[in-house]
Subunit: 442 residues, 2 copies
């Protein structure tokens, strides 16, 4: 039989243990946070009827869709995000699950985009949404989840930037941009400020929307407003804008209500700030929107973004279904955690490896391993009684903290020899309890 | 815009919160067990080059493959199991990850089979494998993982049935079936014993392999041998078979070595027993094989099966790569846990719901929620200040253990009213600490 060359599909990615472990730990932590707030998991298939997906996707996304005919000739496609399946799910099961409904979903999505560095055609999304209520209480909770998630991951220096679509709409209106289509174009251009700079943004605004210098200047000035100090003084400073139009007024009122709830909490007030430049690319946000940057790593961009939308299920139902949700950028966050040295990157989930100098000692080795595991020490037994050199090379490659050696003396005296792989210190023929204490100390 | 009917793709399944939560808890528990034993997660894409998948799949599986052309015209397919991707992965990265290599993988696989009750075209597999060593130490560890996983799930009454392909081969040989092809046919037929009964198995053996009555009788007699009591006396009882041929001898020796390791452990010896009828359908097992049945629910079949194979990477490399692995039947196990009433089926991950009689109290409600969460009580705030009746209906639907009510009095006195939803007992205007104690008591 001719051999097949083992290779990963072009544009796709395998995750080796170090990375997969780090990701599993991260997802485990944020899932626990979601559940603490009463967000529950749901599962929808990776494959959907194509028409379920395409109505809600942009032109670009439609081009990138993995779409084909299944065995029954059905027109099917791999999901490109978790939001459209959520919209379908809520439309189908809203009575069974009951509204308001809080769900989280962690799953892979597929986009056949042109391959580029660091972008893959399959990637993991991690979304949480609070659906079926307009209450500011939901927005407050989503922000608390972002806060709790980052804290849980050991990140303490971050900023959740808040804005409101009505404020952006209102500023545009004040600057003479009144058509929704034009507003969307303006916001899309302003969103590129960090990437392409003020000058090119000005040029594009003039070119694409025919704005004059004065309009552009106003637009850039007002959308560059950021809360610096306490919220009370900030809201006083911008109170003059409330007079401009109802849209801005509504936006500022919502933000004030949000702050009222948030300020009751023990949550650090320095971690959330209003920033009128946050535009969020997606057109479907209609209320408060947010992005989250890490203070020490602003350059990597937002690690958690989201906002309020007023019509999640628009392609499935005439009934409006509002909600608020956010998405954690798993890959970006993993990169950030590594950069901040908050990620333990080891190739093993076990803290220690037991090595035997003879296969006769396997029974004893497994008994020791069983005892360590009972005391919450993840541990494994090297399955061959080969030369110690080989076993220690293996231990270094995988990154165990400790190696336990069982030789003739240890076996006969029912002891073990413990080597600390970091310090290099080895203690011969000690009891299980002594070894346990030493490992637990670390 | 015309509306799309929201519907799940035919043959696929959505999982609502109750089920998805139960599954998430189960997978979380078994993942922790895997990691305690040093099994690490890896990730491979859901999509692979079709030729990577098809060489190792049976004819039936090839027919069921979701196969199509991607945007670059590549011949691609959705994975139908996690074993072939593992074989590819190990072939590609064996030097990076180092051998022996222990991985677990939990992921969805796709088979476009004819739809039938309880079978879906996308389902979750949960595999763990110990690759790159022939040592019996690996087999012993896989069995310990099965044991620890079931114990962790609260199942204490189960049996891991052990057999060895060499014993089955040796029995066949003794009965005059010597060709590998014929042996595989015989084992496939014997494997159906529970399903179709002894008579029809006898018929099929005679018809398909031309065996005479005597051969069939011997075959059925020897493959029906089961360990009843202690292993020592069992191995003495079957010692006469060791003389028949080298194949049986080798199989029994391996089982004895396995028992030697296992008997050193604290693991309950009644949970594993030799059973010569275990054949395992898959042709690629070459050593010890096992199935696991729940004593109280034998009828649902094996919840965890596996075995040793000597050539995982046969389609990718001439180098032999042996290993031993098992697969937990997630859906079957979930059904069993429900049947055994070991599954908490609630639609919420939160233990309590806070309801406010006025939106003015949201800040206080969120502060209380924050405090409960700090004390490890998952809790959520109902986002609307609607009538209490509506909120309690919601609480019943979701299945909270407690409802916390914040009215004017509670808000003014910084207390709360706690209702136990199981007992119906309500205690008015108590302090946070008192409420916390009551919830923690349950």
């Amino acid at each position: 039989m001719a051999l097949v060359t083992p290779r990963t599909l072009s544009g796709f990615k395998d995750r080796l243990p170090k990375e997969a472990l780090a990701k599993a730990h991260l997802l485990n932590k944020v899932s626990n946070v979601f559940m603490n707030f009463g967000f529950v998991p749901i599962e929808t298939p990776h494959l959907e009827y194509a028409d379920v997906l395409i109505k809600q996707g942009s032109d670009e996304i439609q081009k990138e869709l993995y779409r084909f005919k299944d065995h029954g000739g059905r027109d099917v496609a791999l999901r490109f995000d978790l939001t459209v399946p959520l919209a379908r799910f809520v439309s189908q099961y809203k009575n069974e699950v009951g509204l308001p409904f809080k769900r989280y979903a962690i799953g892979n999505v597929f986009r056949g985009e042109r391959a580029q560095r660091g972008r893959y055609r399959e990637f993991t999304q991690c979304d949480f949404d609070f659906i079926g209520s307009d209450s500011i209480s939901c927005d407050a909770e989503i922000l608390q989840v972002i806060y709790a998630s980052l804290m849980k991951l050991g990140i303490e220096e971050f900023t959740i930037w808040l804005n409101h679509r009505s404020i952006l709409n209102g500023i545009c209106e004040y600057c003479g941009i009144t058509q929704e289509k034009d507003i969307n174009v303006a916001l899309r251009i302003i969103d590129k400020l960090d990437k392409i700079g003020k000058e090119r943004v000005s040029e594009e605004l003039q070119k694409e929307l025919g704005l004059n210098n004065n309009q552009v200047e106003n637009l850039l000035e007002y959308t560059s407003i950021k809360q610096q100090g306490e919220s009370e003084s900030f809201f006083r400073q911008i109170s003059f804008m409330e007079e401009w139009n109802d849209s801005i007024k509504k936006g500022i009122e919502d933000l004030k209500m949000l702050y009222e709830v948030l300020s009751s909490l023990q949550m650090d007030r320095d971690t959330y700030r209003v920033n009128f430049s946050i535009a969020r690319g997606l057109g479907y946000y209609t209320g408060i929107v947010y992005e989250t940057t890490l203070n020490a790593l602003k350059s990597i961009g937002s690690v958690c973004s989201g906002g309020r939308y007023d019509n999640l299920t628009r392609t499935f139902s005439k009934e409006k279904m509002s909600g608020v949700g956010a998405s954690i950028g798993i890959d970006r966050l993993l990169a950030a955690l590594e950069e901040l040295e908050l990620l333990q990157k080891r190739a093993t989930s076990a803290r220690a490896l037991i090595v035997c100098m003879d296969r006769l000692y396997f029974g004893y080795a497994h008994l020791l391993a069983e005892s360590f595991r009972c005391s919450e020490i993840p541990i494994e037994v090297y399955p061959e009684a080969s030369k110690l050199k080989k076993q220690f090379t293996y231990a270094h490659l995988k990154g165990y903290e400790f190696v336990v050696v069982i030789g003739e003396n240890e076996f006969n005296t029912k002891t073990l020899t413990l080597k600390n792989m970091t310090s290099g210190v080895q203690i011969d023929s000690i009891s299980f309890l002594k070894a346990l204490a030493l490992i637990q100390e670390e």
